[in-house]
């Protein structure tokens, strides 16, 4: 994932157990719904939050949170 690439966060809704660590580590991008599951504020992570986002991804106990390239290797729809 080169530094120039645009990246976004993605939650795997089946893997996510609602631990909420991601919202603690990245409150700018993740808010929890009333049941404790993450809602992403925007599809893109700005460069200034990139490192924090990576930390949140690494902290997720179920590997449900992922960073994805937004251009190039975008997910097929």
């Amino acid at each position: 994932m080169g530094d120039g690439a645009r990246v976004g966060l993605e939650v795997d809704p089946i893997m996510c157990r609602g631990h909420g660590l991601c919202a603690e580590l990245l409150p700018e991008q993740v808010v929890l719904d009333e049941w404790g599951y993450p809602q992403l504020a925007s599809p893109e992570v700005p460069p200034s939050l990139r490192a924090q986002a990576r930390a949140a991804v690494n902290a997720c106990p179920t590997l449900a949170l992922r960073l994805q390239r937004l251009d190039g290797g975008a997910r097929p729809s």
Binding site: P13, I14, C16, W35, P76
Partner: protein, 434 residues
């Protein structure tokens, strides 16, 4: 070549009854000989795979399983995938408001089998599975039809899928065939890319495949002679509720909803609304349905959904909010319980609507919270199940706004405890075990 294959091709069906041609008059399921006499033999080998896909493209055939996805696009994706493709025919009728696929499999199983064979030809598959609900009586007709055609080169199996609402979603079907667990999985990869046995998998509704069998015989232009430009052909509709002759009818796409209800004998008493698109569908006030063409594009424009072409006529002496509450409760229990926003969100919105029915919302707080929740849940499940439930609830808030206000003001309608009109199934012992 068998004697049957040398028979001259019969004339194409005219009018709006194509799939059920013959069976409608005779009232009997089509046996192999009836099928050959009615439609002629299957023209496999007449076109190569690429020509066949082009033909489907020209016909404009869209999926009949609910989403209306162009079939040719899916055929192309699967044909281009890595590995030998597999074909899965979805005949589960997962939505209780829909029984059209049961009718089709009982009355015209050979048309579906033709379609399966043609789809295999188009994508290069050498095995296929027809999925029906566990213990469905019409499965006997499918087994019998396959037995009558034992000599086919392609292996076609029948799988009996648990009667769970989400078990017939395509990733759940693939998961079931792979592991025996009929719960949806996260996509991508979609089944078209990586499905049964990790191979590219074409999942199509059985009615879509039956149309393919007719398009291959009678051509794209013949197919387009019925229906609209964007939604060509005919479609099977399940009509229920307060009509004189509830049942499955074949109509041209684009037929006004009022005319479809008339086909089913018309209203049996004054109506207030129509529930459309299956239980995970939408509501429309009766005045807005008379002229509404039953086609994907028209329904979307009107703020509703055609879905799997189910219509339930709700009479005036019924409570739309109570019907909605009961349905939402069912949809909540039918959550596969894998994704937080679905497993907690659907019971929460069902609670809210229960509260509206009881008239416990004098302050309007429940309504506000419910609107909020609908926005929060939407789009956050692995499959589209929560989206159907929230769309259905949102439509109820629009269509029954006056009733909701009356309930809140302590003036509930007399019908809140009346017998249900929407075909929400009774709970089974399996529901309690979940």
């Amino acid at each position: 070549m068998t004697a049957a294959a040398r028979m001259p091709r019969p004339d194409a069906p005219t009018g709006s009854v194509r799939l059920l041609a013959g069976s409608v008059e005779s009232g009997a399921p089509a046996k192999w000989a009836d099928h050959l006499a009615r439609y002629g033999p299957l023209p496999v080998g007449v076109d190569g795979p690429a020509e066949l896909i082009d033909l489907v493209d020209r016909s404009g055939l869209r999926g009949r399983g609910g989403a209306g996805f162009p079939m040719s696009r899916k055929l192309r994706t699967v044909a281009a995938g890595r590995g030998r493709p597999v074909v899965v025919a979805n005949g589960c009728d997962g939505d209780p408001a829909t029984v059209k696929d049961a009718k089709l499999l009982e009355f015209a199983p050979h048309l579906v089998i033709d379609g399966v064979l043609l789809a295999c030809h188009a994508v290069g598959a050498d095995e296929a599975t027809i999925c029906v609900g566990e213990g469905d009586a019409h499965a006997w007709y499918v087994y019998a039809a396959l037995q009558a055609r034992r000599h086919e080169e392609i292996t076609i199996r029948v799988a009996q899928v648990p009667h769970r609402y989400v078990a017939s979603e395509e990733s759940a079907l693939v998961n079931f065939l792979n592991t025996g667990d009929a719960r949806p999985t996260v996509t991508p990869p979609r089944p078209a890319e990586r499905g049964v046995g990790g191979r590219p998998t074409l999942v199509d509704n059985v009615e879509t495949l039956a149309h393919l069998a007719l398009i291959t015989r009678f051509g794209a232009e013949w197919f387009r002679a019925a229906g609209t430009a964007e939604s060509p052909g005919t479609t099977l509709v399940t009509v229920g509720g307060a009509v004189r002759r509830p049942g499955v009818y074949e109509v041209e796409l684009g037929t006004p909803v009022g005319a479809v209800l008339a086909e089913a004998g018309g209203e049996s008493e004054p109506l207030q609304a129509v529930q459309m698109g299956g239980l995970g569908g939408s509501w429309m006030p009766i005045e807005q349905t008379h002229a509404l063409p039953l086609a994907h594009e028209d329904c979307r424009e009107a703020g509703t959904v055609m879905g799997s072409a189910a219509l339930v006529a709700l009479p005036e002496r019924a409570c739309g909010i109570a019907e909605t509450a009961r349905t939402l409760r069912y949809l909540a229990v039918e959550s596969a319980g894998q994704c937080g926003p679905c497993m907690f969100g659907l019971p929460a919105i069902a609670d809210d609507v229960d509260d509206l029915v009881r008239g416990g919302d004098a302050s309007g707080d429940t309504l506000d919270r419910l609107r909020n929740r609908l926005g929060t849940i939407q789009g956050r499940g692995a499959c589209a199940h929560p989206d159907g439930a929230t769309r259905f609830a949102a439509a109820a808030l629009r269509v029954f706004a006056d009733d909701i206000a009356d309930h809140a003001a302590g003036r509930p309608c007399p019908w809140s405890h009346a017998a249900p009109w929407l075909p929400v199934p009774a709970p089974t012992s399996q529901d309690a075990r979940k």
